[in-house]
Every structure is written in structure tokens, then in C-alpha cells.
């Protein structure tokens, strides 16, 4: 029991609360000041305000509104290319991701910590490099064209696909594995019958999701010369044909909506 009177204890508690408030207030003030400083440096000091004030801002925006329907005809093939690139890249990504998932799943990794760390490292490497950077790397490796874009997206996809699969493998129910061992199954049979059926829904769900993302990615792979709609976009930009740019962006939007719809139904079918 405390020997202090209730009044004294209330005073002490109130004092502590005031102190806590002061600490909190200082923290918020410091954060606010940091934000204002950032805003000043990158927005206030770095912007051409005269241009925003004049008419050219509105005029340029207006330029974007002038869609260029003549482009539609020549966008059909790149749009199909874009969707196909995404599909091929996702499947290639899956093929590359399976061994990485095998290495990076702690319960089945072949050589213990050594291969586990290797697998996890590959996952991180794949995800920590932006797809545009992967694109630049593969364009210089295999030259301009769709192949570079496909390789870039496939390599970028490996990280996510293999990470999700590896985690699904770590979460499998031990029962079926025990059952296959008990009938005298070898390691591969345990993998095929005890583990694979349990992770199949996760694998399918993941590659559908990744395909959806790759549709998005492949629309910009053209920026680094890796084919598809991005290349058309880049050309219109270079010609300062803003209406054309807007038209391509509209096509990209349509393609992405198409991808959303397909993946929505595909995922329903899987689950």
C-alpha cells in the first residue's frame, strides 16, 4: 500500500501526464517543421510559379484533351503485344520462382540455412530492383524488343511469386506429409502428394494476381525500348503530340480494366 494521501497521488499522476503531453507536443512540432521544410525545398522553391499562373498551364492540359483517334488503328498490335508480354513474363516468372520457393521455404530447403538464405536473398534481389531498371539491364543484354521486357518482368515477378509460395509451403498441414511417409513414399513423392496439392490454390491465385500486375508493368516497359504500348506512348511524348499521349493512356487504362476483369473471374474460378 502506498503511504501517500490520495491528493498527493493525484498530483503526481497529473504531473506525469503533463510531462507526457509536453513530449508529445514537441514531437508533433518537430515532425510538422520537418514536413514544412521538405515542402518548401521540393515544391515552393523548385516550381516555375509564373508558368502555373499564366495561361500555358491550362492550355497544355487542354492539349491533352484532344484525343487522337487516328492512333487507335496502330495501337491494336502493341496492345496485344503488351498483354502477351505480360502473360509470357508471368509464366516464365513462375517457372523461375518454383526453385527459388523450394530453396526459400525453411521446412523443405535442401541444405538447411545455407540454401534458405540463398533463396530468400534471390527473392529480395528480385523485388528490390525496379522493373524499369531490370528493363534497362536486359535491353543492354539482349537488345531492344519484347524479349527484354519479358525477361525484366519475369525476373521482377520471381520475388513476389516465390515468396508467397515459400510461405504457403511453410504453412502446410503436416498430416498428409506424415501419411505419404508412412506408406513408404520417397522425398519427391512426399513433395508431390503431401505438399503440392496443398499449395496449388495459393500458386494459382498468386500468378493471376501477378499477371494483373504485369499487364500494368508491360504498358511502361516500352519506355526503355522493350516494346508494347509504352513504346507508342514514348514516341507520342517525343513528338509532343499530347492528344496522342492521352489516347495511349486511355488504351492503357482499357487494357488494365480488361486485365482486372479477367483476373477477377479467373480468381473466382480457382477459389
Amino acid at each position: 500500500m502506498s503511504t501517500l494521501t490520495l491528493d498527493a497521488r493525484i498530483d503526481a499522476a497529473a504531473r506525469l501526464r503533463r510531462q507526457a503531453w509536453r513530449v508529445r507536443g514537441l514531437t508533433y512540432a518537430a515532425l510538422g517543421a520537418a514536413f514544412l521544410w521538405c515542402f518548401y525545398v521540393v515544391v515552393v522553391a523548385d516550381t516555375d510559379w509564373a508558368r502555373l499562373a499564366g495561361t500555358s498551364f491550362a492550355r497544355t492540359l487542354g492539349n491533352f484533351m484532344e484525343f487522337d483517334p487516328s492512333l487507335l488503328r496502330e495501337m491494336v498490335d502493341p496492345a496485344i503485344d503488351t498483354a502477351l508480354m505480360a502473360t509470357v513474363a508471368t509464366l516464365l516468372g513462375l517457372v523461375l520462382a518454383l526453385p527459388v520457393a523450394w530453396l526459400g521455404a525453411s521446412n523443405i530447403t535442401p541444405l538447411g540455412r545455407f540454401t534458405y538464405v540463398g533463396g530468400r536473398g534471390l527473392m529480395t534481389l528480385s523485388r528490390s530492383v525496379h522493373e524499369i531498371v531490370w528493363g534497362l539491364i536486359f535491353v543492354s543484354a539482349v537488345g531492344l524488343g519484347a524479349l527484354a521486357g519479358i525477361l525484366a518482368m519475369a525476373v521482377r515477378s520471381v520475388g513476389f511469386i516465390s515468396k508467397v509460395i515459400a510461405e504457403a509451403i511453410e504453412d502446410v498441414q503436416p498430416g498428409p506429409i506424415e501419411a505419404i511417409r508412412a506408406v513408404g513414399g520417397n522425398k519427391l513423392q512426399v513433395l508431390l502428394y503431401g505438399i503440392v496439392p496443398q499449395v496449388i490454390p495459393v500458386v494459382l491465385g498468386t500468378i493471376i494476381f501477378e499477371w494483373d500486375i504485369n499487364i500494368r508493368r508491360s504498358t511502361i516497359m516500352g519506355l526503355v525500348g522493350a516494346g508494347g504500348l509504352g513504346l507508342v506512348l514514348f514516341r507520342q511524348m517525343a513528338m509532343m503530340n499530347y492528344g496522342g499521349v492521352a489516347t495511349v493512356l486511355l488504351a492503357v487504362l482499357l487494357l488494365i480494366v480488361f486485365g482486372e476483369i479477367v483476373s477477377h473471374y479467373a480468381r473466382k474460378a480457382v477459389i
Binding site: 498430416g175 498428409p176 506424415e178 501419411a179 505419404i180 511417409r181 508412412a182 506408406v183 513408404g184 513414399g185 520417397n186 519427391l188 513423392q189 508431390l192 502428394y193 503431401g194 496439392p197 496443398q198 496449388i200 490454390p201
Partner: protein, 249 residues
């Protein structure tokens, strides 16, 4: 009298904790042999030491005159082919069909390449269909295993074990996930098929009533030590007291 299975001075444990402390018993060819005892007594570990899903730390497990604990990996898998196992949670592969689940009982006899493509011989498929008829699931052959009820799933588990042409059936708490009526049916079915195929059964079961009703011989385990061995009629109040060590509070 000849014994199908002889367990001698079996020890097991992990990480300093001793779970089995020298258990010995012998199972005759026509035995339905029960292991009873309180939770944590080591029943589950004991049964898994026989087919080495759990590695024992000492002792001998003689099946048809061969010490299973002395076998290398390759021969162990060969030995496991002939030891059927039935599980508390059925341990089916949920997304495969009932028929495919029964066929997995044949994996020990099936080459790796054939099992990759799930190709089983006509003979195996015929055998599986026959066993599914026997356990009363002819209507459900092509359903996915996760669409069946608990009792039906355990019947799939029984058919899978029989698919192995077992020389011994290990049965781990076959009724714990089932309601009392279905539990009796499942125990009855295991007893019938074991008699028909002349396979000895080693069965963990915490339900003493079921054990005395269906089994021919019982051992009682407590804290890794065998406290009782005898026929169901030998299992009197005193023996129960020894096994379950009811403490007077």
C-alpha cells in the same frame, strides 16, 4: 506361438525429454492390440516409433523377424510399404479424389516418374475400387476427399492403408475425431478387415470402453512406462488405477 511384432525395451525422446522409458510387448498375428493411457503417456510416440515416423533412441522393433531400427533409409521405405497406418485426423490429401487418395497407398510400390504423372497400374486401380466397395464408399469414388464426412474420410484412410497389402496395421486414435456411433462403426470395420486379411493391428485409443469391446489384448502406458498388460477381462479397477494413477486430492 509366433509373434508378428515384437517391441523390446523401446526408448524415445527429444531434446532431453524422455518420452518412452523402455517399453516391451509382443503382438500376435491375430491380435487387435490396444495401447491405452492418459494424454501425454507416449501412446502416439510409441506407435510412430514402429514405422519410425519418430526415431527411437534405443531398443528393438522386430517385424516378421527383422529389426526395423537397424534399417537404412532405402530399406526403411521398403519396410514401410507393408505397414499400413490409420490416423486420428485421417491425413487425406484434401484436394485429390477419393480414388487418388486410396491409390497413394501404392506409392511405396510406384516408381518416381509414374508418381509424378499420377499414373497407377490397371491392377492398382482395380484393387482400389474393390477396397472402396469393401469400406462402403462405392458411391463416392470420384468425389474430392474434402467433400466427405468424418466417418467417410476415415473409411478412405482405412482403404488407403489396406491398399498397401499391409503385414501390420498401425492405428492412431481412429475415433477421436468422430461421434460415438460412427466411432463404433469405424472400429468394427477395422476389426473386420483385419480379420479378413489376417493382419495384426496395433491401436492407440484413449477410449477404454472401445478398447475393451474391440481389442483382444491391451497394454496401459503411463509416463512412458508400461503399467499393465493383459486381456480386456484382466483390466479391472485396480489396473485402471495403476494406469491412470487417479490421485486422491
Amino acid at each position: 506361438m509366433s509373434f508378428a511384432l515384437e517391441v523390446r525395451d523401446l526408448h524415445a525422446g527429444y531434446g532431453g525429454r524422455r518420452i518412452l522409458k523402455g517399453v516391451s510387448f509382443r503382438v500376435a498375428a491375430d491380435d487387435f492390440f490396444a495401447i491405452i493411457g492418459p494424454s501425454g503417456a507416449g501412446k502416439s510416440t510409441l506407435i510412430r516409433c514402429v514405422n519410425r515416423l519418430v526415431e527411437p533412441t534405443g531398443g528393438e522393433v522386430m517385424l516378421d523377424g527383422r529389426n526395423l531400427l537397424a534399417l537404412g533409409h532405402h530399406h526403411l521405405r521398403e519396410a514401410r510399404r507393408h505397414i499400413g497406418m490409420i490416423f486420428q485426423e485421417f491425413n487425406l490429401i484434401e484436394r485429390l479424389s477419393v480414388l487418388d487418395n486410396v491409390l497413394t497407398g501404392r506409392l511405396g510400390y510406384t516408381g518416381t516418374l509414374r508418381s509424378v504423372f499420377r499414373v497407377f497400374t490397371r491392377q492398382d486401380i482395380g484393387k482400389a475400387l474393390g477396397l472402396l466397395d469393401r469400406v462402403g464408399l462405392s458411391e463416392h469414388v470420384h468425389k474430392r476427399a474434402d467433400r466427405l464426412s468424418g466417418g467417410q474420410r476415415q473409411r478412405v484412410g482405412i482403404a488407403r492403408a489396406l491398399m498397401q497389402d499391409p503385414r501390420l496395421l498401425l492405428v492412431d486414435e481412429p475415433t477421436s475425431s468422430l461421434d460415438p456411433k460412427i466411432a463404433r462403426e469405424v472400429m468394427g470395420l477395422i476389426r473386420e478387415v483385419a480379420r479378413e486379411l489376417r493382419v495384426p493391428v496395433l491401436c492407440n485409443i484413449h477410449d477404454v470402453k472401445l478398447a475393451t469391446e474391440f481389442c483382444t489384448r491391451i497394454i496401459g502406458l503411463q509416463d512412458g512406462i508400461k503399467k499393465f498388460e493383459g486381456t480386456p477381462t484382466d483390466l479391472d479397477e485396480r489396473a485402471m488405477h495403476d494406469i491412470y494413477a487417479f490421485e486422491v486430492l
